[in-house]
């Protein structure tokens, strides 16, 4: 039963968000309206969730449904993980979980998993695996570290995303090895190592001889000999890496000594039949799966004991919790709408979850575009999705198509239609691919498609050519339609986006564009090596570590624009002076300001130390003076914010993991980020900068002009390595994850690629072809995403038009290839669209005369001159008056005896409270009140009720007889604005109104001897004087007396203030 499910197929730019917001508005306001609290909605990013909530809220407001708009905070909108997290917290008890689940981010989970892996390993296994990894080439080329731990992590992740049990994981190892080895020839029994050793030894002798005798003096032979010598020990120890076997099977000495290498080649060529290779592969595959399985259960335990869950857990736990009858009952009752955005990007596990939730929801909307499923590499499975959508169609679900492209101009819409309708014909009908241009739009004369041929012998030169193209394009004053007002206007750098395949390429393009003085905006690492951040860190170090003389030097360099040339002499003079005067650099004003702040470091958190450093050294101001270009200045300014954000992340991380957080810890953490290339700079959307992104990163975004690069690259498939096997054709919708399994095909020959027959066999196999096919489909989808980003103009910049990726569309007509071609004929509609072709070449970075900018501005400095006082004055902190004196002393009775050792403050408050309540209530049965108050303060065992009451009655006698009170206010609030700007507020214990004026009384339960009473009473003279002033300021009556009442000792002392 899927009648309540609607799938909205939303092609690129088809106004999905608008549609969602209006659908939601209708659902929340129509008949049988859903409650916002009954809505669950997932989006791809947090940002998207926030946007959706805002759109809906605004729309509700706009339609006059303000109350419902206010309730939108109750709707559960977020990423899949955010929503899972909220549901799990809601159902924590049903799921048997902690109600305060600490969700760990991916980086943290990765770290914890590696701890778990270790728990399952013995030293022996580690050594064994390290050796295997070495022979099988599973070593990182850069670091020399073995990589099997990453593979294990990968297996574990994928296994979880596909709901694999421990048993399934283990058997996957065996099956993987079996299936891979099936492509290998039968192993032979011969001891190939021994044979090879003999051959190599012989060859070495021969070669040495040849060289020594001068028969062969070629470099090649020498190098070959070096190689052999390097291998000998390993061969002898049965430890030669398999890639070296391949190498030995191919390499040779130069002609004169070829005989020596022939023998070696012959033996080595048998490597595919080496029984140890077979054994290594089998052992390795089985081991990594076994370890992964064990580590996974260890990992789960580890997190459980710490109340931690990661993203995948959230999905699993919720999936399970949804089996709980109570959970089902509650959701059936409450869940009005389930909405899933970007449906095509859900992982198999998430799909299963959505199917379960769909059963409980009254209405379900899935929105997505299967053409834009480009996260195969992250584990989503487009085929599974297609199968489910097919099921939906055949079982009563509705499918709606959004038909119009609201994004691109009509020429581009038709172009994309004609490219992709045939390209997707194998999986999708035409109506799921083609979009209509937005109504009322007109064709324009501006080019809508350009083909730039980049000429250049290497990447660097082609990048230069591209930069030139970009510059020319902007200089040509291309006219585009403004999104906001629909008018034509001239394109600017900010209208252009450049899409690359990889981050490496992106870096090159970025650098090259920058060298043309083209403003760029891109998210990139290297925050810590920017001068602005170096300055902040130096200032922090200066604050915390006085021994850091380098920090001082760095600050001088960066803030004064001076190289060591300018100040080295002073440093050397300082070192030479005897005795040394203070610290070097103290005379620099900025450093001396910083130095003052050093004492505050002991109050500050790590992130506050950072802020303090920025603030005190006025770093935001300093960095602006480094350039005249405001765009650059802004980037620096934002990098500082980024750094502060990092500091905050550090503290959050510490909170989550229960670590201590210190400045040292922060600096170490930042350094680690930089080492891992994760110290991203601020990626602010600069107004006037070319945006640089990867094709993947462009998803969901749009620009007037898009330059697509790297379309001539190859398509990589996932044959070697980890993959998921599934039978999506026979999908059981109730168990969508059934029948899935993992496969890991190990590539044992390192960087060797030729002369390995197994490789060809595997690639030509059924599975090999299927995998290539899958990769091709994914490539087409990515291309669809890329080519549908532009609003006005698509520019394809290529080295040549041959390339697997571009050819995946099989549309030879798609690009103009000559200068004369000004129009491109679309093959089906026969429409013509305006196009351009150019070749670009540029060998060197041009001399740029930097445009003179006025330079960034900043706030004017204000020098402090004001004297500031604490705004609040606490009455009790006011020192005694010099000239206060005791006026009279009235003995009210005997000292009350106390039992035990009461806590005096508490006892005092109890008597205090009793006096107050007694006076307020004037009770008929005082004992009951006293009993009540004393027990509330838990002092009944220290003072008897009679004694306590006598404290009260004698006080009452005092105010009535001695003071002639007209009325008494107890616990009376005062607020006092002092003439100097300060203010004080407090409570007067008793304020007595008499005919002459007010009398102020303060209770003290000081049990000390009456001898010290005077002294004690005088201590409060300052406070009393303040109260007096306050009362007089607030009323028009004078205060005629201030008293201290000693309740326990039984005395009242008048204090003259």
């Amino acid at each position: 039963m899927m009648e309540h499910i609607t799938f909205i197929s939303a092609g690129a730019g088809s106004g999905k968000t608008y549609r969602l917001a209006s659908d939601l508005e209708k659902i929340l306001t129509g008949e049988n309206a859903a409650k916002p609290s009954g809505v669950i909605g997932t989006t791809f990013t947090k940002l998207a969730a926030g946007e959706l909530r805002e759109r809906v809220r605004q729309r509700l407001n706009e339609r006059g449904f303000t109350q419902i708009a206010n309730q939108m905070s109750q709707a559960m909108l977020g990423t899949v993980n955010g929503v899972c997290g909220q549901l799990l917290t809601r159902f924590a008890f049903e799921a048997g979980l902690s109600p305060h689940l600490k969700v760990i981010e991916e980086a943290e989970a990765k770290h914890l998993f590696s701890l778990a892996v270790e728990q399952t390993l013995t030293v022996q296994t580690v050594q064994e695996m390290n050796e295997l990894a070495f022979r099988l080439g599973q070593v990182d080329q850069m670091t020399g570290q073995v990589t099997w731990k990453n593979v294990i992590k990968n297996i574990a992740n994928t296994a979880r995303a596909n709901n694999q049990s421990v048993e399934q994981i283990k058997s996957s190892g065996i099956i993987s090895a079996d299936s891979l080895l099936a492509f290998f020839p039968e192993p032979i029994k011969t001891d190939l190592d021994a044979k090879l050793y003999k051959a190599v030894e012989a060859a070495i002798t021969l070669l040495k001889d040849n060289i020594d005798k001068g028969i062969d003096a070629t470099k090649g032979t020498k190098a070959y000999l070096d190689m052999l010598q390097g291998f000998v020990v390993a061969i002898k120890q049965h430890n030669l890496a398999w890639s070296y076997w391949v190498k030995l099977s191919k390499e040779s000495a130069t002609k004169k000594s070829q005989a020596a290498s022939d023998a070696v080649q012959l033996v080595a060529a048998d490597f595919e039949r080496h029984q140890l290779l077979h054994a290594d592969i089998r052992h390795y595959c089985e081991q990594i799966f076994t370890i992964a399985a064990l580590a996974l259960s260890e990992f789960q335990n580890y997190k459980k004991n710490r109340g931690l869950i990661d993203f995948t857990d959230q999905e699993h736990l919720l999936y399970k919790a949804l089996e709980h009858p109570v959970v089902q009952e509650v959701l059936l009752d409450e869940l009005d709408l389930l909405l899933v955005d970007e449906f095509q990007d859900t992982s198999p596990m998430q799909l299963a979850l959505f199917l379960r939730l769909a059963k409980l929801a009254k209405k379900v909307i899935w929105v997505g575009d299967v053409k834009q499923a480009i996260y195969g590499f992250r584990g989503s499975d487009p085929e599974l999705m297609q199968a489910i959508l097919k099921h939906l169609e055949t079982h009563g679900g509705k499918t709606e198509l959004l038909e119009t492209s609201w994004r691109s101009r009509p020429e581009l819409v038709s172009y994309v239609n004609e490219l992709f309708v045939p390209a997707f014909a194998n999986t999708l009908p035409e109506d799921r691919v083609a979009l209509k241009p937005k109504p009322g739009s007109q064709n324009l004369a501006q080019t809508t498609l350009e083909h730039w041929q980049l000429v250049g012998s290497n990447k660097e030169k082609r990048a230069l050519a591209l930069a030139k193209g970009v510059q020319e394009f902007i200089n040509s004053k291309y006219q585009l339609l403004d999104k906001d007002n629909g008018q034509l206007r001239t394109a600017d750098y900010g209208d252009v986006a450049v899409l690359c395949r990889s981050n490496v390429n992106l870096a090159l393009i970025a650098e090259t564009l920058a060298s043309f003085d083209i403003p760029i905006s891109r998210s990139q690492a290297g925050l810590l090596s920017t001068p602005e951040v170096a300055l902040v860190l130096a200032a922090m170090r200066y604050l915390v570590d006085t021994s850091d003389s380098l920090a001082t030097a760095e600050i001088i360099c960066l803030t004064q624009g001076k190289t060591p040339e300018d100040w080295l002499q002073t440093r050397l003079d300082y070192l030479a002076s005897e005795p040394r005067q203070g610290k070097w650099g103290e005379d620099v004003p900025l450093l001396s300001i910083l130095a003052i702040q050093r004492t505050r470091v002991q109050y500050l958190t790590p992130s506050e130390v950072m802020s303090q450093a920025i603030h005190s050294a006025d770093i935001r101001h300093v960095i602006l003076s480094w350039q005249t270009d405001t765009g650059r200045a802004k980037q620096r300014l934002l990098n500082i914010e980024q750094l502060l954000d990092f500091a905050e992340s550090y503290e959050n991380l510490c909170a989550n993991e229960g670590h201590v957080a210190t400045v040292t810890g922060l600096l170490l953490w930042l350094n680690q980020l930089a080492k891992d290339d994760e110290d991203l700079q601020s990626a602010d959307q600069q107004n006037n900068a070319v945006q640089l992104l990867t094709h993947h990163g462009a998803k969901g975004l749009e620009w007037p002009v898009v330059i697509a690069l790297d379309l001539d690259t190859d398509i990589k498939n996932n044959l070697w390595g980890l993959s998921v096997k599934a039978d999506n054709d026979n999908l059981d919708i109730t168990q969508p994850l059934k029948g899935r399994s993992l496969q890991y095909w190990l590539w044992p020959f390192g960087s060797q690629a030729k002369g390995i027959s197994v490789k060809d066999l595997v690639e030509q196999s059924e599975q090999g072809k299927a995998e290539q096919c899958r990769a091709l489909e994914e490539a087409k989808r990515l291309l669809y995403v890329s080519l549908t980003r532009p609003r006005d103009c698509l520019i394809v910049a290529l080295k040549d038009t041959q390339g697997e990726w571009l050819n995946s569309l099989a549309a030879e007509w798609m690009l103009p290839n000559t200068l004369e071609e000004k129009e491109l004929l679309l093959p089906v509609s026969k429409a013509k669209i305006p196009v351009a072709y150019k070749t670009l070449s540029q060998d060197e970075t041009p001399e740029i005369c930097l445009t003179q900018h006025p330079g960034p501005h900043w706030f004017e400095n204000i020098t402090p001159i004001q004297i500031k006082l604490p705004a609040k004055l606490s009455p009790s902190s006011i020192p005694p008056l010099q000239n206060a004196s005791i006026g009279e002393t009235i003995v009210l009775g005997d000292r009350i005896s106390l039992q035990g050792t009461p806590e005096m403050a508490n006892l005092g408050e109890a008597i205090h409270a009793l006096i107050a309540t007694y006076i307020i209530n004037n009770p008929a049965k005082p004992e009951i009140l006293a009993e009540q108050v004393l027990s509330s303060y838990a002092v009944t065992e220290h003072i008897s009720i009679e004694d306590a009451l006598s404290c009260v009655t004698r006080f009452q006698g005092f105010i009535e007889h001695n003071l002639k009170a007209l009325s008494t206010q107890v616990e009376y609030p005062i607020e006092y604005q002092l003439p100097n700007g300060q203010s004080a507020s407090g409570w007067i214990d008793a304020l007595i109104e008499t005919e002459q004026g007010y009398i102020i009384i303060d209770h003290k339960s000081n049990p000390q001897s009456s001898a010290t009473q005077q002294e004690v009473a005088l201590k409060y003279s300052g406070q009393l004087a303040l109260y007096k002033a306050a009362v007089e300021a607030a009323t028009d009556k004078p205060v005629v007396g201030c008293w201290i009442h000693f309740a326990v000792t039984g005395a009242a002392l008048k204090v003259n203030v």
């Binding site: 407001n61 706009e62 305060h100 021994s547 080295l568």
Partner: protein, 915 residues
């Protein structure tokens, strides 16, 4: 007494102070405590953590497998207790009496069961306190004559409403009326009020008509990326207003980041408003956690370094900092350097002017306690007794500091830390009493986290005032607190706060709770009320409203969505751009930013020229490293050896290949020093060597390489051990093959050379049967690079060692030299196989013996010396070009164009145009 009661009035209030008596403006929390005082009820002293622990005991007592919380309780008892305590507390606030009757969901039934004991054992929560007051008010009076409600009575909870019945209550309209002026502000106020009452007129499509604003500066929106910058804008503007507008009131409303505003105010010489930011990460609050972390095995060197470099510490900085230096180069405790440093420190103590035996012993004992006590693995857990000892140690230090320190801010922090320590001790003691003898690291961390909570603020950041301009500027943290008009409201950092407002119970349960007589607030009404409360500051503004939004915020405030949906054409400032480009910000009385003076970053330059080279004289004693930088990167030589610029120990922990190399060095040194017979001819005992190795390496790692013992690095550690072991065997084998009979490790050699005195530590000096010497330099990796140096005769380090021996040995020969590379299993690299027959032979391109190379070095040295003597320093960094002077000419070393890959001085040597 008269009370003005408003829901948002417990914190800062956006109003000027007046002198009054008998009148108090207060929020619910303050009001309850006034009522308690008036009723003679003692305040509740127990902290929320204590209450959680009390409730936890009740849950534990009631726990059995059928309880709904059973499973969750087993995994996280603290949070279960915390959550359920909140549930029942909120029920009490909804007039629960602690009992349920009739048919109920399991959960509610279980809660009622627990409550039977909890009612007596858990100290009162807010609702119970309210109920106690309510009960007392039935029999007692107070001196409160009147209560003025600043929010509608209906907005108060039912329980409050019942309490308020005991008083004379006057209701004041909560929302101030929109200003009558004809300006944007009033348009905004009117439109939003109409929107709130769903009263805006609609067009034919059913959409409301948006109000057009005119742009008269009465309503301005500022969008900024940086909070610091927007705070500065507001402050800068206020600073200009202060003199002209003393009679007016400016209110700053903000959420949790007010301290940022305060800092900005200070920067423009305005008084702070007293916003507070609490944090658990104040250094004093970290002293205890650090001290406890040090009790775990394996020792975490990062925590150790944190302890040694912490701004406050249990040991004086003069003790900790030298140790930090050791840890940063050899992470661990107890290595050679560490022991030496301890000895030195104790020696220094002896020479102090105020030396006493007692203090000396105390120091000794302290060092012992902090660095040599037992550590415990997470598996066995930390004995609570030991933990308590440590806590005691910390708290007595804190107490001692408190009595010493004068500074009030510090004293407050110390007091907070002291209570953190004592609460932890109480909690642990309770666990111990419950029969738990050991505690796991995560449990301990959890407890500490709970106890520390959100931490404390800083006392030295209080609200300030300036004489004669008191309170023209007022602050607020809640929209709800605006009950009086002010001239200007700045709502800074308007952003969405809490996400979801729902009850944790199902609709069924809510129904049952209602049937049980609980009066739970209607959430829809609450949301409506909340939405109205946002209008309070909007309507309070009489002349101007400024809203500051930050682009980094994850979500917008709903109020902003309201503004977007019913208004158009407001004045909006993109702050960073406006400031940087010096647009006159008309909305802020034409505030203008000033051009910053252009002081470009120091650029790259190939040469630094000093007036004279006098100060760049020779170094006292040269070493190979100093020679190397003298040749290749004289700027580094000057900065390091002459200017003595060095980084502190704050942020470096030796790791990676550098550390691996050092460790292996030490290991081989120990080996050959203790195994003098291993090279005697015949087969050596591999097993015995392995035995020794296993023991030696684990000690060594603990003492100097603790980073490799950290969880997560097992594989790397094993790879290291295997490699080092294998290489040791290879080394022995190689030496034997070379018929080496004698080995000396880490030999210090001194000699006079062309530049004065030279000193070097030769990694290995070996002698073979014939009595011929060779010197070996041990390297962790970089085989390829070393091969190149041998090939190009650039193995200067080896030549230097060879020279030292040439000078010092009787035969005056230049010994053979070789590298031993550990990584990869061990290999000897030499220019020929004459001495080491099994070495990897790297034939040099030119046959030059050591003496010739040395001669070249001499020539190069003289050339550099001359440069320096004339005050010229070459800066051989990337981005600069060599010039004719950059080459020493014939018969000298070839100087590479740049050598700055591992430079510590990157910040000093200048910046390229693209940086």
């Amino acid at each position: 007494m008269r009370i003005n009661l408003g829901l948002g009035l417990d914190g800062l209030k956006p109003k000027r102070m007046h002198s009054t008596i008998g009148e108090k403006e207060i929020g619910p929390v303050g009001f309850l405590s006034i009522l308690e005082t008036q009723c003679g009820i003692a305040p509740v002293a127990d902290s929320s953590t204590t209450r959680i622990i009390q409730y936890l005991a009740c849950l534990k007592a009631c726990d059995h497998p059928d309880r709904f919380y059973h499973q969750s309780f087993a995994v996280d008892q603290f949070n279960v207790a915390k959550t359920l305590l909140q549930w029942r507390d909120s029920w009490y606030e909804s007039v629960w009496n602690g009992q349920f009757s009739g048919v109920l969901s399991d959960r509610l039934q279980d809660m009622a069961d627990v409550e039977q004991s909890a009612q007596a054992k858990v100290s009162f929560g807010f609702g119970q306190r309210q109920q106690a007051v309510l009960a007392t008010l039935k029999t007692q009076k107070t001196q409160i004559e009147q209560i003025v409600l600043l929010d509608p009575l209906a907005d108060f909870s039912s329980l409050w409403q019942q309490i308020l019945q005991a008083f004379e209550v006057i209701e004041k309209p909560a929302l101030l009326a929109p200003t009558p002026a004809e300006n944007d502000l009033s348009r905004l106020q009117n439109t939003l009020s109409q929107l709130a009452s769903e009263n805006l007129s609609k067009d034919e499509t059913g959409s409301i008509k948006k109000t057009q604003l005119k742009g008269d500066n009465s309503f301005v929106v500022v969008k900024a990326r940086s909070k610091a910058v927007s705070a500065r804008l507001i402050s800068q503007w206020l600073a200009a207003q202060v003199h002209e507008n003393k009679e007016k009131t400016f209110a700053l409303l903000t959420g949790s980041e007010g301290v940022e505003l305060d800092d900005a105010l200070v920067a423009v010489d305005l008084p702070r408003l007293g916003f507070v930011k609490t944090s658990p990460w104040r250094p004093v609050l970290q002293v205890l956690p650090i001290a406890l972390e040090l009790l775990w095995e394996p020792l975490n060197p990062e925590v150790l370094l944190q302890m040694l470099m912490h701004p406050v510490g249990l040991l004086p900085g003069s003790i900790r900092h030298p140790l930090a230096k050791v840890v940063s180069s050899a992470p661990g405790i107890g290595g050679e350097q560490w022991r030496q440093t301890l000895t030195d420190l104790l020696e220094i103590e002896k020479t102090r002017p105020n030396y006493t035996d007692e203090r000396y012993k105390q120091l000794q004992a302290d060092l012992d306690y902090w660095f040599a006590s037992n550590r415990y693995t997470p598996e066995e857990g930390l004995p609570i007794v030991v933990a308590n000892q440590r806590i005691l140690k910390v708290s007595s230090w804190l107490a001692q500091q408190q009595s010493r320190v004068e500074d009030e801010a510090m004293r407050a922090l110390l007091a907070a830390a002291y209570s953190q320590a004592s609460e932890l001790s109480i909690a642990l003691t309770a666990l111990l009493a419950d029969g738990t003898a050991q505690i796991k690291p995560e449990q301990l961390r959890y407890l500490l986290g709970q106890l520390t909570g959100t931490g404390t603020g800083i006392v030295d950041q209080y609200a300030e005032c300036i004489t004669d301009q008191s309170h023209w500027l007022v602050g607020a943290t809640q929209a709800d607190s605006f009950n009086e008009v002010v001239n200007t409201v700045v709502w800074w950092d308007l952003q969405a706060t809490s996400t979801q407002v729902t009850y944790p119970w199902s609709r069924q349960e809510l129904k049952q709770l209602n049937e049980q007589g609980l009066l739970l607030a209607d959430l829809d009404l609450q949301l409506q009320r909340q939405a109205l409360s946002w209008l309070k500051p909007i309507n309070a503004a009489q002349e101007r409203l400024i809203i500051v939004l930050h682009e980094s915020d994850e979500a917008h405030h709903p109020l902003w969505d309201q503004i977007c949906s019913c208004l158009e054409n407001w004045q909006e400032i993109r702050l960073e751009d406006s400031v940087l480009d010096a647009e006159a910000i008309s909305a802020f009385n034409n505030l203008v930013s000033v051009q910053s003076t252009y002081t470009p970053l120091p650029g790259l330059s190939r040469w630094w020229k000093l007036d004279s080279g006098e100060v760049l004289g020779k170094r006292d004693k040269a070493s190979y490293s100093s020679l190397e930088s003298f040749f290749y990167s004289p700027y580094q030589w000057v900065l390091r050896y002459k200017a003595r610029l060095k980084a502190g120990n704050l942020q470096s922990l030796n790791d990676g290949n550098l550390l691996k190399g050092t460790l292996a060095h030490h290991l081989y040194e120990r080996f050959f020093n203790t195994h003098t017979t291993v090279l005697t001819p015949g087969k050596y005992q591999e097993a015995a060597v392995n035995l020794w190795f296993d023991q030696a390496i684990s000690t060594l790692l603990a003492e100097e390489g603790a980073v490799f013992l950290q969880p997560g690095r097992l594989i790397e550690k094993e790879q290291f051990i295997t490699t080092t072991r294998k290489s040791l065997h290879t080394l022995i084998h190689q030496l034997k093959a070379a018929k080496v009979v004698h080995v000396e490790m880490e030999q210090t050699q001194e000699a006079v050379f062309f530049g004065g005195d030279l000193e070097g530590h030769i990694d290995m000096k070996v002698t073979n049967e014939q009595g011929n010497e060779a010197v070996i330099d041990i390297k962790w990796g970089g085989q390829k690079y070393r091969k190149t140096t041998l090939k190009q005769n650039k193995h200067l380090q080896l030549v230097t060692y060879s020279y030292l021996r040439h000078k010092n040995c009787t035969t005056k020969q230049w010994p053979v030299a070789a590298y031993f590379i550990i990584d990869g299993g061990g290999a000897i690299l030499a220019q020929n196989t004459d001495y080491f027959p099994e070495a990897i032979e790297v034939k040099p391109n030119d046959e030059e013996n050591h003496a010739v190379i040395w001669q070249k070095m001499k020539k190069t040295w003289e050339w550099r010396r001359k440069q320096l003597d004339s005050g010229l320093i070459e800066v051989t960094v990337n981005g600069t070009e060599m010039d004719p002077v950059s080459s020493p000419g014939e018969d000298a070393l070839a100087i590479p164009g740049t050598s700055d890959r591992f430079s510590d001085y990157k910040v000093l040597t200048g910046w390229g145009a693209s940086q």
